[in-house]
């Protein structure tokens, strides 16, 4: 594998191909499609967090002029079986019941029925005419209540880990990892640190609400236009819910206004298809912001207990964690990755982690950047910070002393190949934002972060046009600048200028299968497919050149975008450029098309170290971030500015989660702050410039060393903020968010006010 400094275009930062359309409003997002005779769909949502549904009657809604269709759970196939073959997993049955409730409403906002009418206004009026007979049940609203003895059961047939010999429970699953003799190691430790932590329900906060348009034909085939992180997964999930063949569904992705994991699942698409089937017209459905908050995402609220044991010399000898994650109304909290990630930065001889996947009467959680890792690592990194204080050592030195390295057996099993955690810590230690003394009243926090990264399935086609321009076609919606990254890797591989390459996101009928854009997999896995497709192009171009020169293909080299005879080959010819070969393709065998499909393996873990300075206003409880530094191992940065953008975006999202964001529920389980005015994400004026430093420890499994960068940046900011506030206040507030009222209450309690 070439070193980064050998590359001609990889590692540069050209303007993104989709940028002009997006800043001028020309780009089409999920809600932008309009079709002739199109209807507008709306969803009736449960006003109760937990209720048995005795009946749903849509007959009065159908009598309203302008209403063309109305559906409830009874209109959808029952008894759906099988597993979702997508990124997030779960069962088709649970997905179907989340799309529209059947016998029970499981959270406030759970869809109960839907209508299609000739205007959004009529559709909303029609919802008021749907009669639902509810029997309201007690709502279970947090993980502790859900796990308590005698808790109201959300699903009476759910048994922990499927063990039918045990009574039903709200605990869907328990995950355990253990190594060494944990109890003996704690007994032998010189210092024990223990902490108990909570993180709130938080939303991904993407700007674009979910939206789709569907049309169903007389042949029984449907087309869906939607904003999604993965249209092939939309196809399989929608087909599963509706009992259709994937061959009868075509999904066309729009541009996407943010997802962060929240658009790897479906909410509206089966409803729109069914309403279109009944009405015979296209149906468009667009969520309001309130619906997004009440019924999509969020990520798990958690309750964790962590214990760390160490010797006086700073060696961490034992750690244990108990972590409970809210799953929402159906099983599937990201507690498994949380258990696997929590100790990942460290070389620990003895540890135990126990994780719980717990049902509550809230929306089913969806993936959110590095799903499960921020919550668990928040707990561990807070405890490590307290350990450094107890030992009186530098928190970076403590982490360096105990850091994992190449050859360390990761807590989740495998042995680490080359990884960048130590390099990140060394960069942090030498960084000006760390060596500069703190100002008066300033608190400084530091934390490590980690994400596994994943591969999965990808396809790519590379097409040569007659003038030598190159079109890359792949199936991953572009969230974070992947078109530019694909073009850069294609240009580098082919040896041509970046501006001669175009990237196109194909729909489910115009390109090969790709899993979702998520898991930091696209630049790694789809990029690998693009590189292989370009190598296919090069092989064909060498054959065309050989045929032109009347020599064998193995006598041709590909150098700087040109076919040239290999040294020693006795032929008097001029090099043939990609444009030369493309222009004569018709004469040498026809159009040139490169292809690759793969299940990418060997994703490389990405570690980070973040640090920040904060101030805390003791009168108001407001925390201000003075500076923030994100250091991360990207493997190789394909597009440097977008890697930095991912690091900055993740930092801001993580800080929002740490400092202000939380779902506020009333006693009946209704979210009270379902809007961006009351659920406040950080805005530009809240944040300092996020400093970045890209560490590059190439992943040996990728042709350009890519690890993937989108997940890791959100992991460390939670504990960075908490550790900095701890430093500023002199005591720790273990429950997030560190919002003004929460911080003020903690200060008042501490000072006996």
């Amino acid at each position: 594998m070439a070193e980064a400094h050998d590359y001609k275009v990889v590692g540069t930062s050209p303007v993104r191909p989709d940028g002009v359309d997006k800043v001028t409003g020309r780009a089409n997002f999920g809600a932008d499609l309009n079709l002739p005779n199109m209807l507008h769909g709306k969803v009736l949502r449960s006003p109760h967090a937990h209720a048995r549904i005795h009946s749903v009657d849509v007959s009065r809604a159908l009598e309203l002029d302008g209403v063309y269709a109305a559906v409830s759970g009874a209109d959808f196939p029952s008894g759906a079986e099988g597993e979702i073959q997508g990124e997030g997993g779960g069962t088709v049955s649970d997905l179907a019941q989340n799309i529209v409730a059947r016998d029970k409403a499981l959270y406030h906002g759970h869809p109960v029925a839907a209508v299609a009418a000739k205007s959004p206004y009529i559709a909303e009026r029609a919802l008021e005419l749907i009669d639902v007979d509810y029997e309201v049940l007690p709502a279970v609203l947090d993980v502790d209540d859900a796990m308590a003895d005698g808790a109201t059961l959300i699903n009476e047939s759910l048994h922990t880990n499927g063990d039918q010999s045990k009574p039903p429970s709200n605990v869907a699953g328990i995950t355990k990892f253990e190594r060494g003799d944990v109890e003996q190691a704690f007994a032998d430790a010189d210092i024990i640190i223990e902490g108990e932590y909570r993180t709130p329900t938080a939303h991904q906060g993407y700007i674009e609400p979910h939206a789709c348009t569907a049309t169903y034909s007389e042949e029984g085939k449907a087309t869906i236009w939607c904003c999604t992180q993965g249209h092939f997964d939309v196809r399989s999930m929608t087909a599963g819910v509706l009992g259709m063949s994937v061959g009868d569904l075509k999904v066309i992705p729009s541009e996407i206004g943010g997802g962060f994991g929240g658009k790897t699942v479906i909410y509206l698409e089966p409803l729109a298809v069914k309403l279109s089937e009944i009405s015979g017209r296209p149906v468009k459905m667009v969520m309001s912001r309130e619906e997004v908050f009440r019924a999509t995402g969020p990520t798990s609220a958690t309750h964790s207990r962590v214990k760390v044991g160490a010797m006086k010399d700073g060696t961490i000898t034992a750690a244990s964690a108990w972590i409970a994650y809210e799953a929402g109304a159906f099983p599937g909290a990201p507690v498994g990755p949380g258990c696997m990630a929590i100790f990942a930065p460290y070389d620990l001889p003895n540890f135990r982690v126990e994780g719980f996947d717990v049902l509550v009467n809230k929306p089913k959680v969806a993936a959110y950047r590095a799903p499960g890792a921020p919550q668990a690592m928040y707990a561990m990194e807070s405890a490590v910070d307290d350990l450094a204080r107890e030992l009186g050592v530098d928190p970076i030195d403590l982490r360096l002393q105990n850091a994992a390295d190449e050859g360390t057996q990761a807590p989740y099993g495998p042995t680490f190949p080359p990884i960048g955690i130590k390099k990140c810590l060394e960069v942090a230690k030498a960084h000006a934002n760390y060596t500069t003394p703190k100002g008066e009243g300033v608190g400084r926090g530091i934390s490590a972060g980690f994400w596994f990264n994943i591969g999965m399935q990808s396809s790519a086609e590379v097409r040569l046009s007659e003038d030598g321009t190159v079109t890359v076609v792949e199936g991953n919606p572009d969230i974070g600048g992947t078109r530019a990254s694909m073009c850069l890797m294609a240009a580098e591989t082919l040896g041509v200028p970046y501006d001669t390459v175009r990237a196109h996101v194909g729909d489910t009928e115009s390109t090969g299968f790709c899993n979702v854009t998520g898991g930091s997999r696209t630049t790694f896995a789809t990029g690998m497919a693009v590189v292989q497709a370009c190598e296919d192009i090069i092989a064909q171009c060498k054959q065309r050149a050989a045929a032109t020169w009347d020599i064998d293909a193995d006598q041709v080299d590909w150098t700087d975008g040109e076919a040239v005879p290999k040294p020693g080959v006795n032929v008097d010819v001029k090099p043939l450029s990609l444009a030369d070969i493309a222009g004569n393709a018709g004469r040498t065998g026809g159009p040139i098309l490169g292809r690759a499909s793969l299940n990418a393996q060997g994703a490389g873990a990405s570690f980070s170290v973040n640090m920040a300075d904060v101030t805390v206003d003791r009168e108001t409880g407001k925390v201000d971030v003075v500076n923030f530094t994100a250091i991360q191992d990207a493997g190789t940065a394909i597009h440097r500015a977008y890697v930095e953008g991912q690091m900055q975006g993740g930092a801001v999202q993580g800080l929002g989660w740490a400092l202000n964001e939380e779902y506020v529920y009333d006693a009946n389980g209704e979210m009270e702050n379902a809007g961006f005015l009351d659920y406040r994400v950080p805005v530009t004026s809240d944040m300092p410039m996020i400093d970045t430093h890209i560490v590059e420890v190439p992943n040996p499994s990728h042709p350009y060393g890519v690890r993937g960068v989108g997940e890791t940046p959100i992991v460390a900011p939670l504990s960075v903020a908490a550790n900095a506030v701890r430093d500023a206040l002199g005591f720790r507030i273990p429950d997030l968010p560190l919002s003004p009222p929460n911080v003020l209450a903690a200060i008042d309690e501490r000072e006996g006010a």
């Binding site: 990124e87 355990k176 991904q204 696997m340 799903p371 495998p414 997999r521 299940n599």
Partner: protein, 89 residues
């Protein structure tokens, strides 16, 4: 196939805690197989029904994490760790 006397070395196959209920508490076995598919077959022959369980897991072979990798080669001295699948946002 599972390890038999005199046919060493074998790949070391390790099960995490959440799979121990399926293996009767057995955490580690030695298996002779050419690829990951062979490992799954061998485990299923010892504990019938395990194939369906293992299809929902990821696996780390000699430190590299794989998902849905039936054909991935396994060496006689390989370490094979079953682990939970990883998703992402």
């Amino acid at each position: 196939m599972l390890a038999r006397p005199g046919r060493m070395p074998m790949a070391k196959v390790v099960f995490p805690d959440h799979l121990l209920s399926h293996t009767g508490g057995t955490r580690e076995i030695a298996v002779e197989a050419k690829n990951f598919r062979g490992i799954v077959r061998a485990v299923d022959s010892r504990w019938p029904g395990m194939e369906a369980v293992l299809m929902k897991t990821a696996v780390a072979i000699d430190g590299q994490i794989y998902q849905d990798a039936w054909l991935e080669p396994v060496q006689p001295d390989s370490e094979v760790f079953f682990m939970q699948r990883i998703e992402g946002g």
